[in-house]
Symmetry: C2
DNA sequence: TCCTTCTATGCAACTCGTTGCATAGACAAG
DNA sequence: CTTGTCTATGCAACGAGTTGCATAGAAGGA
């Protein structure tokens, strides 16, 4: 279970409430890890009762009070231990690949629309990443020497960019293949 | 839940028992979908009682009898319906990206070993895919015109190959970045 | 004024997925 | 002769993740 560790990293980067974490999981961290607010609140509570996190009630004006969590010594130790353990898996779940193979037993025109839709999603996401890269990592380029945290965030983002580019090229390959099949073998 | 649909596709490609499906999920289909035998047996039972699949008891010699499942009309209809629905998500879970960002708060040497290990895994997997491609998709190239199912399986495999290549290149980028950080900023 | 949206937290119920364990016959190696 | 591996199926328990719903004050627009 790495959700705990993702939360530890995020809170080390900047302390925050469950709500704020949920927002981060929709953005920067969400590029490579998804979580709903339910999961986050539940796990935060458990981590706090396990002594991994500290809480601080922060009263606010014009909006509800929030609980700001930060990483305690135990939490930092737990993260460090996890960083030194090997991890496995990256369990793959590619619905689209299932669909592509399934298209052999069905009308391929539905597949074409689906693939085009996915291509659009990945294309938009790529544009979003590139905009974020411009904004976050090329602004004060000559000014401050970028710190380690920034460099590491940047290389993760570059991974996202490479993934989207690769995916778009592959989806084009899929489209070309399906069209070729449709042209050369009009009957099912 | 697309496990049902992955099973339908696999059984359409070739009927088989739960055990055989589990083996396939370790290989070809496992390239883009993982499932344990527990999940498979449980889902097969449910799908059969829902009328999506038919069963046939096959006695065998020298080994236990097996239940060979095949797709019933209802199952085929369910698959067809799913193929015509849009799907979302591809929910991302990249433990390694969490670790990379976490390395900003820890000794990066552990990260280097981990990244090198992953690079090896992906490199092996790429070699495995390429061997599979040679074997399955370039053998009788000029002889028979490849059918739609084969072409679609091939394009899925090409996706896996592109993914591994991209990942290896990215891991090299990660390694270069971490080394650069270690060289330029020897103190934490 | 009412409706929606945003911040902020949480419960309850459910499904999905993993892990550990059990059975059981056949076969091969030590 | 015992141990281990392969085929083949399955139960029980747990943990992870999703969905629906609820509360509640503040702000802004129709």
């Amino acid at each position: 279970m790495a959700l705990e560790h993702a939360i530890l990293v995020s809170l080390l980067e900047k302390p925050g409430s469950g709500y704020e974490l949920a927002r981060r999981f929709e953005r920067s961290i969400g590029y490579f890890w998804t979580a709903t607010h339910q999961q986050i609140y539940r796990v935060l509570k458990r981590m706090e009762s396990d002594g991994l996190l500290g809480v601080r009630e922060v009263p606010q004006q014009g909006r509800p009070d929030k609980k700001e969590y930060s990483v305690a010594g135990l939490g930092r130790a737990a993260l460090s231990q996890w960083l030194h353990e090997p991890i496995e898996s990256e369990s793959v779940r590619h619905d689209l690949a299932v669909k592509i193979r399934g298209a052999a037993f069905d009308d391929p025109s539905a597949l074409i629309h689906e693939v085009e839709r996915h291509r659009q999603v990945h294309s938009d996401r790529l544009a979003h990443y590139l905009a974020g890269e411009l904004c976050d990592f090329t602004g004060p380029e000559a000014s401050a020497p970028p710190d380690a945290g920034q460099e590491l965030q940047h290389v993760v983002l570059r991974g996202g960019i490479a993934y989207e580019r690769m995916t778009i090229a592959w989806l084009d390959d899929v489209l070309a293949t399906v069209h070729r099949l449709g042209a050369s073998r009009p009957r099912t």
